[in-house]
C-alpha cells in the first residue's frame, strides 16, 4: 500500500453551510492510493455533505480539493466523474426501466459504423463486465427485474469500470445479502491491489473493521479523529461518534432507552398471525403486549417494513390475519387499522409522512379527522385542544400550530408524525425507523418518549437499522430474514451479536 507524500484525493479545510446550519466546519481529509478509508459519523455529522462536496454535487464555501496534488473544483457530478471520482449510493441511482447493459454503458456506448451505437457489441461488452465482477444476469433485461442486491452490484460495476482512481461507496451493503457482501469485498480488495482508493461510508462497524485501513470520524461537521483503524478500539470509535466518554458508553449504552419496561401481562395489544404475501412475507407471526417494546431485526429487504405496513393495513396480504386489541382487522385498510388502534410511523417521512403543504396542526390531526368531525364539518375547537396538548407533550418546536410543517426540522417533523399517531388514540404504535435522519438531540427525545409511551401501556413495534438502538430499546427482538421469522430473542439474549448470528444462521439453513 503506497501512502507516500502525495495523496490521491485531499480535502483541506472544507466548510459548507446551508440556511440555518453549518454542515461542514473546516474538514480536512486525505486519501492515499490503494487505501480503503472508512468515513463514519452519526446521522447529521456531515458525512453525506462531505461526499457531495467530493463528488461535485455541492461546492464548498471555503477550503479546497486536491486531486493528485493539484487543486480542483467540480461544478457538476459529471466533472468529478471525468476527473476519476466514481460513486455508488445507498439507493441504486440507475435507470430502472433501461436494460442492465444500457445502464452499465450509458454515456460510453460502443460505436459501430457511421458512429451509431453497436447494440450487439454493447451487450457483449456488458456481459464481460458483469462476469468480471462475478454477477450472473441477463444484460438485456430491464434493471428493475433484478433483485436489489444485484442492482447494487451493477451500480458498482459501472462505477468501477469508468477508469476511476477514487471510488466512493455510500452505505453500499444496506441492501446486500452476506454472500453479496463477500463479493463486494472481493471487488474492493481487487481495487486496492490496482492502486485505486476507496472511501467507505457505513455505520456497520463489523464491516469497517473487516475491510478498511484507516478511518475518519466526523461529528457535528468536524473531524473528531483520523487514523489507522486497527489502532482504534470499537468502543472508542463509538464514543468518538457520539461525543461521549468511553466509560460512559460502556455503562449506559448508546441510546436514551432506559431498558426497563414492565410489560403488562394479558391479552396482546396486537397480533399478526401467519402473515403471508407473495415474494415478501411468509407466515410471519408477531405478538406485542401492552407496555412492551418489540424490535424487528433484519437486513434491508428482510420484510420488516412490509410486516409493519401489513399490520397497519397499508399493505394487502394474501394469507394470515391481524388482530388488534382482540378485534380482527380488515386487511388492506389503513382506516380500519387506525380505528382498531394500530398506527404506523412510516420509514420515509418525506415520501409517506408529512403533507408539506399543510400546517403542523392539520398534519397532526390528519389521521384522527373522523373523530374530530361532526356531520362532515370539522370541529375546530376540539382539534385545537388535541393539537395543543400533543405539541406540548412531545415538545414540538414550531412558531405556532399554523406553521407550515415543511419548515420544521427533521426531528420536529418526526414528532409531528408521532403526534399524528397518538391523536388517533392508538393502542399500539408501529414505528419504522423513528430516529433516522434527525439530529442527536431530537433522537434522544424520541427514544425517551418511546420509553414513556410504553410505560403508559402502549405497545410498540420498533424497526431500526441502528442495532444499538434496537437492542437497548426492545424488550424482545424478532429477527426476520427474507420474509421469514428466523429467531426470537428476549431479555438477556437481546444483543447485537445474537441478532447478527440469527440473521446469518438463517442463510446457512436454506443453503
Amino acid at each position: 500500500m503506497d501512502s507516500g507524500s502525495a495523496f490521491v484525493l485531499e480535502a483541506r479545510g472544507i466548510s459548507k453551510g446551508f440556511p440555518g446550519v453549518l454542515a461542514l466546519d473546516g474538514v480536512s481529509f486525505a486519501l492515499a492510493a490503494g487505501e480503503v478509508h472508512a468515513l463514519v459519523g452519526e446521522n447529521g455529522a456531515g458525512k453525506s455533505t462531505l461526499i457531495k462536496v467530493l463528488t461535485g454535487v455541492h461546492q464548498p464555501d471555503r477550503g479546497e480539493l486536491r486531486l493528485h496534488g493539484g487543486q480542483v473544483s467540480f461544478g457538476t457530478p459529471l466533472e468529478a466523474q471525468r476527473a476519476g471520482i466514481s460513486t455508488i449510493y445507498q439507493e441504486v441511482n440507475l435507470v430502472p426501466q433501461m436494460s442492465v447493459a444500457h445502464n452499465l454503458l450509458l454515456g460510453r456506448e460502443p460505436r459501430g459504423r457511421l458512429g451509431v451505437i453497436d447494440v450487439g457489441r454493447m451487450y457483449a461488452d456488458a456481459g464481460r463486465v458483469m462476469s468480471r465482477y462475478g454477477i450472473k444476469a441477463d444484460v438485456r433485461r430491464p434493471l428493475r427485474s433484478l433483485g436489489m442486491g444485484a442492482q447494487q452490484m451493477v451500480a458498482l460495476a459501472r462505477a468501477v469500470s469508468v477508469d476511476a482512481r477514487v471510488v466512493i461507496m455510500d452505505e453500499p451493503t444496506s441492501a446486500l445479502e452476506p454472500r453479496e457482501v463477500d463479493t463486494l469485498f472481493g471487488v474492493i480488495t481487487r481495487l486496492r491491489a490496482e492502486g485505486i482508493a476507496v472511501v467507505y461510508v457505513s455505520h456497520r462497524l463489523e464491516e469497517l473493521y473487516r475491510i478498511c485501513d484507516r478511518v475518519t470520524v466526523l461529528r457535528d461537521g468536524r473531524v473528531a479523529h483520523t487514523g489507522p483503524l486497527d489502532e482504534l478500539e470499537r468502543v472508542k470509535l463509538i464514543a468518538l461518534m457520539l461525543g461521549r466518554d468511553t466509560t460512559d458508553v460502556r455503562l449506559r449504552g448508546q441510546t436514551e432507552f432506559s431498558g426497563d419496561h414492565t410489560a403488562k401481562n394479558g391479552q396482546p395489544v396486537v397480533e399478526a398471525r401467519a402473515l403471508s404475501r407473495r415474494h415478501q412475507l411468509h407466515e410471519v407471526s408477531i405478538r406485542v403486549r401492552p407496555g412492551e417494546v418489540v424490535g424487528l431485526g433484519g437486513l434491508l429487504g428482510a420484510g420488516r417494513s412490509e410486516t409493519a405496513k401489513a399490520i397497519a393495513g397499508a399493505l394487502p396480504f394474501d394469507g394470515g390475519a391481524v388482530v388488534v386489541a382482540g378485534h380482527a382487522v380488515r386487511k388492506g385498510s389503513p382506516a380500519a387499522a387506525i380505528r382498531a388502534g394500530a398506527s404506523l410511523l412510516p420509514e420515509d417521512r418525506k415520501a409517506e409522512g408529512i403533507v408539506p403543504t399543510m400546517s403542523v396542526r392539520d398534519n397532526i390531526a390528519l389521521a384522527a379527522m373522523p373523530q374530530l368531525t361532526r356531520a362532515g364539518i370539522v370541529s375546530e375547537a376540539r382539534l385545537d385542544r388535541v393539537v395543543t396538548a400533543l405539541m406540548k407533550r412531545l415538545r414540538i418546536k414550531a412558531t405556532s400550530p399554523h406553521q407550515l410543517v415543511s419548515e420544521l426540522s427533521g426531528g420536529n417533523q418526526q414528532k409531528v408524525l408521532l403526534a399524528r399517531s397518538l391523536a388517533t388514540g392508538a393502542k399500539v404504535l408501529l414505528l419504522d425507523e423513528p430516529t433516522r435522519g434527525i439530529d442527536v438531540g431530537a433522537k434522544a427525545e424520541v427514544q425517551a418518549l418511546i420509553d414513556e409511551l410504553a410505560a403508559e401501556g402502549l405497545g410498540v413495534l420498533l424497526i431500526s437499522s441502528d442495532l444499538e438502538e434496537l437492542v437497548e430499546g426492545s424488550d424482545r427482538v424478532v429477527v426476520l430474514r427474507d420474509g421469514v421469522v428466523v429467531g426470537e430473542l428476549a431479555g438477556d439474549q437481546v444483543t447485537e451479536e445474537a441478532i447478527m448470528s440469527a440473521i446469518a444462521e438463517g442463510s446457512a439453513a436454506d443453503g
Partner: protein, 321 residues
Amino acid sequence: MAETAATLPQPLGSRTRALAWLQRYGVYASVLALLLFNVAFTPHFLEVANFRTQLIQVAPIVIVALGMALVIGTEGIDLSVGSVMALSSAMVVLYLGYGAPVAIVAALVAGAAVGAGGGALVAYAGVQPIVATLALLVGIRGLANVLVPQLTEFRNSTLITLGSRSVAGLPLVVIIAAVLTAVVAFLVKRTIFGRQLVAVGGNRAAAKLSGLPVRRILVTVYVLSGLLAAVAGVLATSRLQASDPTSLGLLMELSAITAVVVGGTPLTGGRVRVLGTVMGALLIQLLQATLIKHNLPQSWTQMVQAVIILAAVYAARGRKK
C-alpha cells in the same frame, strides 16, 4: 440519506418571502391595478351596464374554474370540462320536451356521470388524469355532437329567466356563481372532505397511510368538476337560448386552468385557493375587456395571458418539493 445537522425553524429569506407573497396575493394586486387603470383610462367603465356585462361573462368561467381548482388540489387536472359543457347543453335541448326542470336535472346528471367516469379511471384504474380527461374531452364532445348535430334554438320561459333575469339588480347567473363560490369555499375550509382533499394532493401516500378514503375522494372531486361544468353549460345555454355543441365550451379548460393557476392554486396540488381562483377568472376577463375597449387586437390577449401564466407559476415554484 441522512440530513445534515440540526435545522431550526427559520425565517425565510426575503426573496423567498417576496415570491410567496406574489404567489398568494399577486392576482389581487393585478386585478386592482387593472381596475384602477380602467377607471382612469377607459370611458364608460364605471357604468353599471358595463359591470353587469363583465360579471355575466365571467360567471361561467368562475363556475368551471371552481371545479377545476378542486381537481388541481388533488394534483390532478380535468381537461374534459369544455366537452361536459357541450354535453350538458345537448341534454338540455334533448329533454326540454319534459319541461325545464327535467332538462336541467338531466344535464347535471350527465355532467356528474362524466365526472364519475373520469374519476373512476383515475382512482381505480390508476390512469393519469391528463390522459383520462383527454379521452373524455375527445369522446364526450363527439357524443354531444352526435346527440345534437347542429345549432338548435329553443324557447322556454324558465330557461329565459335563468339566463337573463336579475334579482335585486344582479343577474341570476352571477348570483348562482357567487353562491357556488361560497359553497365551494365552505367545503374546502370547514369540512372534512376539504381537509382530506388537500391532503390527497399534498402527499397521497401519507393520506393513504392516515386512513383517508383516497379513491372515494378522487372520484368525488371529478364528479364535482363535471357537475359544475354542467351548471356552467346549462347557464350558457339558457343565455344563448340555443345549444351548439360544436363550439360551446371550446377551450374552456384553458381558461379555467389559467384562472386557477394565476389565482395561486399550485398545479402540484395540496392547496386550494377559492377566492384566488375567482380573482384569476376576473383577471382574465378584465384583461380581455380592457384590450377590447382600447381596440387592441385579440392576439395581444393571448400573448399577455401566456406571460401571466408563466409569471404566476414561476412565482409558485419550489413551494412543494
